[in-house]
């Protein structure tokens, strides 16, 4: 949580502790940027208007650095243009002080769930990438043609190989990629953005 007001920081931290979550607090955006985030589901509660780097500035900076963290904005001003800007930039919630505590609690749970899902997705993708990296250059070539919908015979023609060899490669690919069907493999290729014809 980033808020320049100490009382607001401490009270929000207390509230978050009361629902069994852990909160780290920061007095400024700069302080937060220096912080090494633990590798677990988390989200950011951000005060909109702060001296120095504002909440919106921090959101932009995080996006540019490729840091993905769900952001819940909190503001004392109910500033509509600002909230629109924040939501467009991907904020998941925008709370106006004084907010109902349940709104914050719901937003926190929602944000954590989203971060958890995103993290699972990330892990899956990393896994998939590792599997793909284990393919030989030839196998990657064959995979590209397979997910493009070409038959073994056509692939053999394309590569100047035999249908038998293509079948052999294909078996290796399915096993290494842990794909259960052709459709499964196509989805994986899409996730990995493998070029196909």
């Amino acid at each position: 949580m980033v808020d320049d007001d100490a009382a607001m920081r401490h009270s929000t931290q207390c509230l978050i502790r009361s629902i069994g979550l852990r909160a780290e607090t920061f007095a400024s955006a700069q302080q937060f940027l220096k912080y090494k985030r633990p590798d677990e589901p988390s989200c950011l509660v951000l005060d909109m208007r702060m001296p120095g780097l504002s909440g919106l500035d921090l959101q932009k900076e995080l996006a540019e650095a490729g840091v993905e963290i769900p952001i819940i904005f909190v503001t004392a001003h109910g500033d509509i243009p600002m909230s629109v800007q924040a939501m467009k930039a991907g904020a998941i919630e925008f709370l106006t002080k004084p907010y109902r505590d349940q709104d914050l609690v719901d937003a926190l749970h929602d944000a954590l769930k989203r971060d958890e899902a995103a993290r699972t997705e990330q892990t899956k993708l990393r896994d998939l990438r590792r599997r793909f990296d284990s393919l030989t250059p030839r196998e990657r070539e064959v995979m590209g043609l397979v997910v493009s919908g070409l038959l073994n015979k056509q692939i053999a023609g394309e590569l100047g190989s035999t249908e038998q060899t293509v079948k052999f490669h294909r078996g290796h690919i399915m096993r290494k990629m842990q794909a259960v069907s052709l459709a499964d493999l196509v989805r994986m290729a899409a996730s990995l953005s493998i070029p196909h014809r």
Partner: protein, 458 residues
Amino acid sequence: MVQYDREDLASGRVRWTDLTPSEWRNRDERGIAELKETGIFQPFEKEYFRKDGSRVPVLLGGALFEGRSNEGVAFVLDLSEQKRTERALQRSEAFLAEGQRLSSTGTFSWRVATDEITWSAQLYRIYELEIGVPVTLELIRTRVHPEDISLIEKMKMVDQARAAGNDFEWQYRLMMPDQSIKYLYAVAHATRDENGQLEYIAAIQDVTAARLSEEALGKIRSDLAHATRVMTMGEMVSSISHEINQPLGSIANYGNAARRFLAAEPKRLQEVDQALAKMVTEADRASAVISGIRALSRKSQPERVALHIEELIDEVLALVHRELVSRQVVVRAEFGEELPLVRGDRVELQQVLLNLVTNGADAMSSSSGSRALLVRAERSEQEPDSFVDVCVQDSGIGIHAGELDRIFTAFYTTKPAGMGLGLAISRTIVEAHGGRLWAEANNDGPGATFHFTLPAAA
């Protein structure tokens, strides 16, 4: 007397009847009749023509010799000089009366030994009494405002005046039968007559109009100050509402947290206690902010109390803290050691400080360098025992030497949204406190310094 000579008389050119203007002839005839009847005519005033046709006022009287009916003696007294003096006296009396009327000033004399009191006509008019009624101390008492009567009695003013025989002046009020109030200013001069008897000669001026306009002016000034104060508050409303919302939001957070700690199984009582303690702290913070605002927007007559200038400065800085932070202004307060208390009106002095601090912040809003504001209170260099000097120093755009005094003129402003009243009112306030407010360009760097002095509370 009539400019004729013996020859004129001898030649018969002068005729007795021609000497008398026609309107006096009847009087003459009555005189002659009286003379014939009683042998004497009582002196009376009349006029004669002079040779040149002008008139001469005379007193004429005469009697026949006893036993003679055609021989007697008469006298003619030239009254010119007396008449001139009389006219001059009348004129000066008229001047005096008119002067008294125009200046609403009445005069009276009081012979202390006999309590003989004489009033001028204007004084009767001021007291709204019929001109000429005998004036007594008791009669005066029926007109003097009851509160002032008790004051006069408490101070034994009448007794003192009887005994002392000194000049004195005093101000008092009359309450007229219709309950309206008159404000009077009296100056009395003690004299002694030839017998050494004490007599006071006094002038009493009706200063009601001046007094009322003074009061109205004071009220206008205070209304105007209130209006600008409210305006300043209006400009700061967003930062002020933030100042209140922060503690309120914190209180809500602690409260909600406490309920959840209580609902937990087992109850987390220690944390409940901590949250409650924090709630109290935050509630105090919110009410401090609100009382600060209420004090500033309060509308009342200024008062004079002994104040800690340090406290006053801290209060104002707390009020504008948020605003200064959002404008990236770093503010620092410095206090000299063992500062004496100052005498003044808390709200008015807060307004002066608020104005100087926001001016300083405004002056730095376009500067790219460091935005530092210093508020310092210390004993005055010239008169360390009787004055405290407060200065507000900014590092902003500064003030041209030629404008150092002009900025205090009402409606003079360099700000697009300014009314140009802040400094003018601030100076009025400081001067009403017996201090001075002035501006200086900074010697060692950009920006300006505003100084004001306040008398130390005795």
